[in-house]
């Protein structure tokens, strides 16, 4: 699979691809035959990913991308850490209670990998800031708990033709897909409207392993998009039920009448 085009790739062909420190840090993934070796690692270092939000799903994705050596992470997450977050958020510790999410998350990610450039937006993503959030990144990773946020990112990703990796969960179930505008269905093709019962961020139960596994799959999708490794979930909806240990992949296609990504799209808004 060919990798995506990155916004910047300033590496000169006369420079060594990786430093001695990078060779050591990433030696285990460099051993993976499908990964693509030092050129793939250098591409990860050149890539930027915008992650919203950064809790159980998005935070797992951000953490694994930092460990993998992604070049830049833009983190969006409004509010302060509360005790009920601690059953699933890998970037939040008990000592972080009442701290702004992004402050604690930046600290943990910097400790995990100080080579990652971090930018934080201490707000959730909406129509007023989605342009800023999406514009500076190569890929969007969507782990938001509200459909309004998800549809805003989907619309902007389609408008800017940027790949978006989407992951979501409920209770012990989760799914993920990779959206490449112009090539795959967008979120609104798969789900044109949000469920009428999904009215706030506290509507869903969650146990840590399901948000972790969905975030991990999202991180792998980003790595695949950047490096060209393996097969992505483009055009496929991957779903897992951890209660029954059932995992399936479903084929999803673009809708000719999609209000966001089809040729008939008149506006970038979704009926909520």
């Amino acid at each position: 699979m060919p990798p995506i085009n990155l916004v910047e790739n300033s590496h000169s062909s006369t420079e060594p691809l990786l430093s001695a420190s990078e060779l050591e840090r990433y030696s285990r993934q460099l051993q993976s035959e499908g990964f693509g070796g030092q050129p793939a690692q250098a591409r990860l270092r050149s890539a930027s990913v915008a992650v919203s939000r950064c809790g159980g799903v998005g935070g797992t994705c951000a953490m694994l991308l930092a460990r993998a050596g992604i070049g830049k992470l833009v983190l969006a997450h409004g509010g302060h850490i509360v005790r009920e977050n601690l059953n699933r958020m890998h970037l939040a510790y008990t000592e972080d209670l009442n701290r702004p999410y992004t402050e604690a998350f930046e600290e943990k990610l910097r400790a995990i990998n100080p080579d990652v450039e971090l930018t934080a937006i201490a707000q959730n993503i909406g129509e007023d800031n989605v342009d800023e959030f999406v514009s500076g990144a190569d890929i969007i990773a969507d782990g938001a708990p509200l459909f309004e946020e998800r549809y805003a990112m989907n619309g902007e990703a389609v408008r800017r033709r940027k790949p978006l990796v989407s992951g979501a969960m409920y209770d012990l179930e989760g799914y993920a897909t990779t959206i490449v505008p112009g090539e795959t269905p967008c979120l609104a093709c798969i789900y044109p409207v949000r469920p009428d019962y999904w009215v706030d961020a506290h509507v869903f139960p969650v146990i840590g392993p399901i948000s972790t596994i969905v975030g991990a799959v999202m991180a792998m999708e980003v790595i695949k998009l950047v490096t060209g490794t393996g097969e992505t979930l483009k055009g496929r909806l991957w779903r897992i039920d951890l209660e029954q240990n059932v995992a399936r992949q479903f084929t999803v296609k673009r809708r000719e009448d999609c209000e966001v990504c089809s040729s008939k799209a008149g506006q970038l808004s979704i009926r909520a």
Binding site: R53, C54, G55, G56, V57, G58, G59, G79, N85, R88, M89, G143, A144, P145, L146, F147, R150, A168, M169, Y170, D171, L172, E173, G174, Y175, I190, Y191, P192, V193, R194, P195, D196, W198, A201, H202, V203, F204, V206, S211, L237, R239, D241, E243, Q244, V246, R248, Q249, F250, T251, V252, K253, R255
Partner: protein
């Protein structure tokens, strides 16, 4: 017989089952059989006009119902999956 897989949020409609078998040899027959067995499932899945709600994706094996005719054949070992839209994430 084809087996219907039920997501967590719909299991209240099917006596808590995660899956159940249905009769029928076509897509429409299999779905009708599921709705007859569990009318609460029909109420959850269908809108007032009897169409599947747009935030619920239905697949026969890996193929979306959007890409199938109602008269398409369903085999005994086929699977029906209801996949409602989710947004969890995290607060």
């Amino acid at each position: 017989m084809p087996r219907v897989y039920v997501p967590t949020m719909m299991r209240k409609c099917v006596d808590g089952k995660s899956s159940f078998e249905v009769s029928g040899q076509t897509v429409s027959e299999v779905l009708a059989s599921a709705y007859r067995a569990f009318p609460a499932l029909a109420a959850e899945v269908l809108d007032k006009d009897g169409r599947i709600k747009p935030f619920i994706a239905v697949f026969i094996n890996s193929t979306s119902l959007h890409d199938m005719e109602n008269t398409a054949r369903v085999r005994d070992d086929d699977e029906v999956h209801f996949v409602p839209a989710m947004a969890g994430g995290v607060d």
